[in-house]
């Protein structure tokens, strides 16, 4: 866990004091909204449909219990008792009042947290594999490098007014759990001989023009990484289009200029700036790494786990879906579902946050993670403690056994909150989850990722959902478009549009037809939805989605 240095703490204190004065000046009328808006956005404060919204960064998704408890306190004291975890490993508070925000930021600073660069055309919160430091398949823990990037990018004078926002994601494993190919820069740790380096991917992104990132360099050593990133962002800063907001992301820059051209420009820039990196960053990295040392793993008795697994079918079902192998065979990674059937994806109440914090403290080496899939993770749990954890979670509505299944849906806030939305997402997610729970088919269907966005900006990652749902406004009515075959992993793919959209009432039956068709079409129960789609393509699914057209054509 990274702890702020005196420098970090002093910087944040000053920033918060500045913002407090800016809020006061807005309220007393000395600042107009036009003057104030960029200032509040720099501090993560948005104005949404019904209220302000404060977006707080959770760097690389890592929290300790003290931080989680503080988020609970903020939710209770200044919000309506809950928070919303997002696909970018942020937490959003939906109901702050303007006057209270400086106090909220001070409360965050007390636990080394902030809302800086969660908005604006800057380098945003650096995200990472939520199983970092725990996963069995990892080359190295990606978080020290993510923290180094956070420090380098925070308040970076050259990169405060980029052509557009800029998102970086890092993974330390071959399996991509951080959707790195859909980021402006995606980094994957790789090992060559005994050296750790990074594969550097650029130009991925979702939104209006979805693109899978391209490999810029297949191996950049750890020492050369920061100057390489600096060169990339600096090339983009000059070359990126500022004339058209929809063409301003680096994915378009890469697309229009070609990856070779970008590589040549980055090389040139790199040669120029490399001497400025004198190795200070490597000293810093070494210090950061010490903060992320693995916990002292316990040698305990796993018998309670085996016994609960044998005797309690509910525990067994949860263990089968919500646990992931840990690199220590006596341990497990626990994913806590924030997707109880019929509830809002990614929301946790203050009470639930406190419970999770308490469990992390008692059983989880004081670590929690937020996943881009809007769940909470206890990365280091001794197997013997799993039953206690499960029963405690279950009692607070957190025991849902659905990770990776059809009801583990990503949904952005959509038109229930977001000022940019063209349709709602939350009710669609809730209804799909409720429907498949009623049908009692979820576990039979197996791995299936549904992702829903309330507008083309694609915060709900619909393009990389096995089933993606995009909410649009068609002549003043909510309309939902389906894409199929998307994939956010190392085999990243953009989903293909299935056809005309569906109304809010038609979309649930449409998804049901799709899934029923899959159950008929799969060769064996082990063949997943995505595998089936890849084998047989769009046509049979289209036929299930649009039966009338089939009838008409016949």
């Amino acid at each position: 866990m990274y702890h702020y240095t005196d420098f970090d703490a002093a910087f944040l204190k000053e920033r918060n004091a500045q913002f407090r004065a800016q809020v006061e000046r807005r309220i007393d009328g000395s600042l107009t909204e036009d003057e104030f808006k960029p200032l509040r956005l720099m501090n993560g404060l948005y104005l949404q449909l019904h209220a302000y919204m404060l977006r707080v960064a959770i760097p690389y998704g890592t929290l300790n219990s003290r931080q989680m408890n503080q988020l609970a306190l903020i939710a209770e004291r200044w919000d309506k008792g809950y928070g919303h975890f997002t696909t970018r490993q942020n937490i959003q508070f939906n109901w702050p009042q303007l006057r209270d925000v400086p106090d909220m930021l001070d409360a965050l600073a007390e636990v080394d947290m902030h809302a800086i660069q969660t908005s604006g055309n800057t380098i945003r919160n650096v995200t990472a594999d939520h199983f970092a430091g725990a996963a069995a398949d990892e080359v190295t823990d990606p978080r020290p490098i993510a923290e180094l990037i956070r420090q380098w990018s925070t308040d970076h004078p050259e990169f405060q007014f980029l052509p557009r926002k800029f998102k970086v994601a890092v993974t330390g494993a071959e399996a991509d759990r951080a959707v790195i190919k859909a980021h402006d820069i995606g980094l994957r740790a790789v090992k060559r001989e005994d050296r750790i380096g990074f594969e550097v991917i650029v130009g991925g992104g979702l939104g209006r023009t979805p693109m899978i990132g391209k490999v810029l360099f297949d191996f950049v050593s750890q020492e050369d990484l920061l100057p390489t990133l600096e060169a990339i962002v600096s090339v983009y800063n000059l070359l990126g289009r500022r004339d058209n907001k929809h063409k301003a992301r680096i994915k378009i820059t890469v697309h229009e200029n070609g990856i070779e051209d970008i590589r040549a420009r980055v090389d040139e820039r790199y040669a120029l700036i490399r001497p400025q990196f004198t190795g200070v960053d490597q000293t810093l990295l070494a210090r950061i790494k010490a903060n992320f040392a693995a916990p002292q793993f316990l040698k305990g008795d796993s018998a309670p786990y085996h016994s609960a697994y044998k005797h309690d079918p509910l525990f067994r079902s949860w263990a089968d879906t919500n646990l992931t192998p840990h690199r220590n065979p006596d341990y497990a990674i626990v994913t806590i579902s924030l997707k109880a059937h019929g509830k809002t994806p990614g929301d946790a109440t203050a009470r639930q946050m406190r419970l999770m914090a308490g469990l992390a403290q008692r059983y989880g080496h004081d670590e929690l993670r937020i996943s881009h899939e809007q769940n909470v993770i206890l990365p280091h749990v001794h197997k013997g403690d799993l039953p206690s954890i499960y029963y405690a979670l279950k009692a607070e509505g957190l025991g849902t056994a659905n990770i990776g299944l059809i009801s583990d849906i990503i949904a952005c806030p959509g038109m229930d909150y977001c000022a940019l939305a063209t349709a709602r997402s939350i009710p669609i997610a809730r209804e799909i989850a409720t429907r498949f729970d009623e049908l009692n088919l979820e576990h039979d269907i197996g791995p299936l990722k549904i992702k829903i966005s309330g507008c083309i900006n694609a915060c709900g990652h619909h393009h990389v959902g096995h089933i993606g749902i995009l909410g649009l406004d068609r002549a003043g009515v909510e309309n939902y478009q389906i894409t199929l075959g998307g994939d956010g992993t190392e085999q990243a793919a953009i989903g293909e549009r299935a056809g005309p959209g569906f109304s809010a009432t038609e979309i649930i039956p449409a998804v049901e037809r799709l899934v029923m068709a899959y159950l008929d079409l799969r060769t064996v129960p082990e063949e997943t939805f995505l595998q089936t789609y890849r084998r047989i393509g769009m046509a049979p699914f289209k036929a299930a989605l649009y039966p009338e057209e089939q009838a008409n054509a016949a």
């Binding site: 807005r26 309220i27 009328g29 107009t32 909204e33 104005l47 949404q48 449909l49 019904h50 209220a51 302000y52 309506k80 939906n94 109901w95 702050p96 009042q97 303007l98 006057r99 809002t344 038109m415 229930d416 909150y417 939305a421 709602r424 939350i426 009710p427 809730r430 406004d473 003043g476 009515v477 909510e478």
Partner: protein, 99 residues
């Protein structure tokens, strides 16, 4: 070509301090759409919009929203305005509590 006939509107914004959705009444702001003043004359609406926008010490993001008139009560035309008038559909955290 004759321009499109002017359809009824209300003036809406968010309150500066709370962020709440508000509507212009005579010379004040209300959180209740049914109490909003309905504007039926284009020139008048434009003028009122300019005046309302000047109240930046009270509100943010002032604009005209289309309504239909049911009896004497304004009803949103677009679903977005309907949500703004009521609050989010997933929790009774918005105005559903009050109205």
């Amino acid at each position: 070509m004759p321009s499109k006939p002017f359809t009824p509107k209300v003036i809406t914004a968010n309150a500066l301090l709370e962020g709440d959705v508000v509507y212009l009444t005579g010379d004040n702001w209300t959180r209740d759409l049914s109490k909003a003043e309905i504007l039926t004359d284009e020139a008048d609406a434009d003028l009122r919009l300019i005046e309302a926008s000047a109240q930046s010490d009270k509100v943010v993001g002032v604009y005209l929203a289309d309504v239909t008139v049911n009896g004497s009560v304004p009803v949103p035309v677009h679903f977005r305005e309907d949500f703004r008038a009521k609050g989010p559909s997933n929790y009774a955290h918005g105005k559903q509590e009050q109205f």
